[in-house]
């Protein structure tokens, strides 16, 4: 793979920098200003920004378009792709389009089922699963062929990410799954947000023992809690989130107007612990609709300034 074509995120991780990525949700509409405003809040604080793909099955501006807006601002996007809405034909097509637009990072997940949200009447696709999509993006990169075996003209060469959830059921199977994802093509992993440090530590230790932390870069997810109500809601209603009672008690133990600060403190303590763990290559800050907090977190965690990569002139060959 041509070194000059590598994304900034990939190059930083290769150099051993503790990376910071953040998330940005496109608007429900065509207002590019919303994306640009979020982008400005994240500028200089995140090495790359994930742009979600019709997250929670709510119809939003496409991930591809939103990525273009960020790219035009000089930010590095990570284009998320779900398998819920598009078949293998459309997904391959989008990868090629993305690469031609100079995106270099992609992130692959199945996506929330459409019965949740704004279009429950829709037919879903799920032609391939996220493991197949990882495999496809990797094959395109390594062999220059699409899924039908056709030799591509300027095959895309993406830095590929996948999700991992150390807190979901069934726990014991999670490491087998992580290994499978990395074999299929995941270069980097972003995890579900961490509150239960003990369980996370167990997971990363097991991953390390299997050599997985050498094969892929693991970025631990963090989300600052805003209130005790948010903590309780997430703990009981969102699948795969594990918030220990001790954390909920801390959030409840402070008066309402101080809750956000306490949430931030918990987040910073978590980041400090994560930096000590072997096998963690960075953090992924998920502060959806709370993007202004990202800068505050990165500053307080003493992760500033973010390192720059000298202009390498990404080629369009």
């Amino acid at each position: 793979m041509n070194v000059t074509n590598q994304s900034k995120l990939q190059q930083l991780l290769k150099k051993g920098v503790f990376a910071v990525t953040a998330e940005c949700g496109p608007p429900r509409g065509a207002n590019a200003g919303v994306i640009r405003k979020k982008g400005e809040m994240l500028r200089g604080y995140a090495d790359a920004v994930n742009v979600t793909d019709n997250q929670t099955a709510i119809v939003r501006m496409s991930s591809t378009a939103a990525c273009v807006h960020l790219l035009q601002m000089g930010l590095e996007p990570v284009m998320q792709m779900v398998t819920r809405d598009r078949n293998r034909i459309a997904l391959q097509s989008d990868i090629m389009g993305a690469y031609s637009l100079v995106f270099r990072n992609s992130f692959v997940i199945p996506g929330d089922h459409q019965t949740f949200c704004s279009q429950p009447d829709a037919m879903n696709v799920f032609d391939i699963d996220s493991m197949n999509l990882l495999h496809m993006v990797k094959t395109i990169r390594e062999e220059g062929k699409d899924m039908s075996g056709f030799d591509l003209d300027a095959p895309p060469s993406m830095f590929i990410g996948a999700a991992a959830n150390p807190f979901a059921d069934p726990l014991d199977y999670r490491i087998i799954r992580l290994a499978k994802k990395i074999d299929a093509g995941a270069d980097f992993i972003q995890t579900q947000c961490v509150y239960n440090l003990q369980r996370f530590k167990d997971w990363i230790t097991m991953a390390s023992e299997d050599g997985l932390t050498e094969k892929a870069c693991i970025l631990a997810g963090v989300t600052p809690l805003k209130s005790a109500r948010m903590a309780e809601y997430m703990a009981h209603n969102v699948a795969g989130i594990d918030i220990p009672d001790s954390v909920i008690r801390r959030m409840k133990g402070v008066p309402g107007e101080k809750a956000a600060r306490e949430g931030l403190n918990i987040c910073l303590e978590t980041i400090a612990e994560l930096r000590q763990m072997h096998g963690i290559h960075g953090i992924h800050i998920m502060a959806i609709e709370n993007e202004e907090k990202v800068g505050e977190i990165v500053e307080a965690a003493r992760l500033m300034p973010r390192p720059e990569i000298a202009e390498t002139g990404v080629s369009h060959a």
Partner: protein
Amino acid sequence: MIVGEQKKLAEIKEIVAPYRKLLLLGCGTCVKTCFAGGEDEVAALASALRLAFKQDGRDIEIEELTVERQCEDEFIQEAAEAVARNDAILSLACGAGVQDIARRFGNVPVLPGVNTTFIGVLEKPGLFTEECSGCGDCILTTFGGICPITRCAKKLLNGPCGGSREGRCEVNPDTECAWQLIIDRLRALKQLDNLKTYMPAKNWRTSHAGGPRKLFREDLAI
């Protein structure tokens, strides 16, 4: 069996309203076993329709007949005389049966009285669950007899996703996570290693996605 549910009375009333003489045709196979369209259901529906039309001050003549299956000509032909006596047929068979009746007796309106849903089993009294979506290329061997195409809402072949909660699917807490079931079953069979193998993208050509399907058996064609 093929599982279906009888349409609501109000909808059926509207569907049959234009007709004076109605043949109410039941089926003795799948819809009988899911209590949607067998002999008993035909009798009850006929009675309910008569009472309902009486309420409206209207008369309707309903002839009741049930054949063994509405998907085979041999049994459909038994209804020929009854069809000739009536203005329309309300069939309580599955969608395939309704269409086969329409194919044979095309000069009479053939109306559906059942909403056909899925291929499934009777899990316990009163509970029918979907198990097979007819993908045409059965892979139950790998998954210990539990189908990820049908029973996983996202059709994952390399599951699970991160959405299950205590063994329940994120889509519906009444639905078990198919992948939890697969993992438990394979563990019991000491075949959990099956899941280490990468499952490539499915070839959907043998499924309905490849277009409406036919099966031609040369050995049975006389």
